[in-house]
């Protein structure tokens, strides 16, 4: 069963801005990264999937349910973590998440239990009884995630989940998301501007550019080996490069890195031995991978939508 299936999905805002333009793709369950450039495509897409916004044309299905006619059924199964601030300041996380659980149709006792469990999973302990107005950004992000998880959804939609978090907070949130997708077994669609995060947590990528599909594929296909080996030594990289070149390898020097085109398994030993012969220390041997960035670097920039 597909997670999300789009067919020619288009959204035009009054004023002429086209946020989504004929988007067609199918996504299998897993942890999916959603990246958008040149426009508001990703937020618009999430809102359409949730039934918060109507499409101009085309169709979309979530968990095999049609967004236009079965919106209510979809929202039973989906949890949403918005990008913006959305928590009232004068009630506690515990009361709020409990209320949200009731709003998702959980009976009173179950709501209370699930709330306590879910707040523990996201890492909120005694602070859950204090009003949320005094929470740090990290704590607020956790509450947002908790309310999305409390009714045990089949699919989580996360919009920029690490927004505003410092490095430690980002790390913890990404770990939590990873655990949620793998251990908890919940499908996730995570929208982010940070390719590093997506590379770390997701197994599938959907990239939208100016409302059109740029690419949709498993992450592995983007970050494949380029056939180049990165070698770093403690000094004199040019000497190493010259030596390897003399031995018939295609070599390039980039700053402190020596990039060698791999010619079979023998390349590794050849590099190793050259390093020893030149009395150098070996700091790094790493096959160079393409990164998600290359995807965006290559495509041409377009007129931006708001």
């Amino acid at each position: 069963m597909s997670l999300v299936a789009l067919e020619g999905l288009t959204k035009r805002y009054p004023g002429g801005v086209t946020a989504l333009d004929g988007l067609t793709l199918t996504v299998e369950p897993g942890i999916v990264g959603l990246v958008g450039s040149n426009g508001a495509g990703k937020s618009t897409l999430i809102k359409i999937l949730l039934g918060l916004l109507d499409a101009s044309s085309g169709s979309a299905a979530v968990l095999n349910l049609d967004v236009a006619t079965q919106g209510l059924a979809i929202r039973q199964l989906v949890g949403y973590m918005p990008e913006h601030d959305c928590l009232p300041g004068d009630i506690s996380a515990s009361d709020f998440v409990n209320h949200m659980a009731r709003m998702s149709g959980l009976p009173s006792a179950s709501a209370r239990e699930r709330t306590a469990e879910v707040l523990r999973h996201v890492g909120l302990f005694e602070e859950r009884y204090r009003p949320m107005g005094g929470y740090s950004t990290g704590m607020k992000q956790r509450v947002k995630l908790a309310q999305a998880l409390v009714h045990d959804p089949r699919l989580l939609l996360l919009d920029e989940p690490t927004n505003g978090l410092d490095p430690a907070g980002r790390d913890e949130m990404l770990d939590l998301i990873e655990r949620t997708g793998t251990e908890f077994g919940i499908a996730i669609v995570m929208a982010s501007h940070l390719l590093g995060e997506i590379e770390r947590v997701c197994d599938y990528l959907v990239a939208i550019d100016a409302g059109r599909l740029l690419r949709a594929a498993a992450l592995g296909t983007f970050t494949q080996h380029t056939g180049t080996l990165i070698v770093e030594v403690d000094e004199r990289p040019d000497d190493l490069a010259a030596r390897l070149q003399a031995d018939g390898y295609v070599v390039r020097v980039d700053g402190s890195q020596v990039l060698v085109v791999i010619r079979g398994d023998a390349t590794y030993d050849h590099v190793r031995d050259s390093v020893i012969d030149l009395d150098l220390a070996l700091l790094r041997v790493e096959p160079r991978r393409a990164s998600l960035e290359d995807l965006f670097r290559d495509a041409a920039p377009k007129e931006e939508a708001a």
Partner: protein, 314 residues
């Protein structure tokens, strides 16, 4: 949850168990829209009276209810005193007849308190979620936008009903208890009850829906409160002026543009009593026109309210 008893004596309980504290899938019941709406209604009622919040948020609503019951309490107190000292039913009856506090006058006495309650609480119920941007969290759940608006509206309605009917209830109980015997008391008072309930309902509905519409349109608390107070205090001034200018039908109809006067008119009409409100007396409109006006005010407000939530960007 172990089946074998722990402890060494029985020999069998030497081992240990680890229970999985990992994430648990929820397999319990998922009640539908109805339950969610009911939960929101309950939540709205609690918020309207500041329950589950800081003490500060209780001051206005609870204070206003207490104030509203004062006239009724006083009236009952007076009647009781007379009954004690006069030692005769006739005296008590006379005291009762002289008392300005009756079912038909409770509303005019407490009107301002009702308006203040709506001005104070409607922004809490309709503005706060907009300001804090919490609406997407509601709308992304299995309720519709109108479900949300209706649940909130019902909550405000019930909250206002409590405020409007509490004094009536006190008056009723007081008078029944003070009567020569309970059965006669009930027989005397019961006929008024349906009217009181109906008037109370109309008041709560009109005030609630108008306040809700304003609060939904202006989420900023201070603006909403001022606007709600204004709508119940300012048109009266113009209506009074226009009516006293005696310019014919136009002047009379001006009364209907003032919600407070409309409610006075409804109150007077349904209780079949003389309105204390000068503007209403001067306007000399047929009683049913007030009912129609009340209906239009309410319908328009509800329409605005629903439309607002349909069109809000989530």
């Amino acid at each position: 949850m172990t089946s074998a008893p722990l402890g060494g004596r029985h020999g069998a309980g030497r081992g240990g168990s680890i229970y999985d504290l990992g994430y648990r899938v929820y397999e319990g019941p998922r009640l539908g829209r109805r339950a969610a709406v009911a939960a929101l209604l309950r939540h709205t009622l609690r918020t309207a009276y500041g329950l589950g919040r800081s003490a500060r948020s209780k001051i206005m609503p609870v204070g206003l209810v207490l104030l509203a019951t004062l006239p009724a309490l006083l009236a009952v107190g007076v009647i009781v005193l007379f009954a004690q000292f006069a030692q005769s039913d006739a005296a008590a009856g006379a005291a009762d007849a002289l008392s300005p506090v009756r079912y038909s006058t409770i509303f005019p006495f407490t009107a301002v308190l009702v308006f203040l309650f709506s001005a104070s609480q409607a922004p809490e119920l309709f503005g706060r979620d907009q300001l804090a941007n919490t609406l997407p969290l509601y709308f992304s759940r299995a309720i519709s936008r109108s479900d949300y608006a209706v649940a909130r509206m019902l909550g405000l309605l019930i909250a206002l009903l409590v405020l409007v009917l509490a004094p009536q209830l006190i008056l009723f109980i007081g008078r029944v208890l003070v009567a020569s015997d309970v059965m006669t008391g009930l027989a005397d008072e019961l006929p008024q009850v349906p009217t009181a309930l109906l008037v109370g309902f109309i008041i709560a509905l009109l005030v609630g829906s108008l306040a809700a519409a304003i609060a939904a349109l202006t989420p900023r608390r201070s603006y909403a409160t001022v606007a709600i107070v204004a709508v119940f205090l300012i048109p009266n001034v113009f209506a009074a002026i226009l009516v006293s200018l005696d310019i014919g039908l136009f002047g009379q109809l001006a009364v209907l543009l003032s919600p407070a006067d409309v409610l006075d008119g409804v109150n007077a009409f349904l209780f079949d009593s003389r309105a204390d409100n000068i503007t209403v007396r001067r306007a000399r409109l047929e009683g049913w026109t007030y009912l129609v006006a009340a209906a239009i005010w309410t319908a328009a407000s509800l329409a605005v309210l629903l439309r607002r939530y349909q069109r809000l960007a989530a």
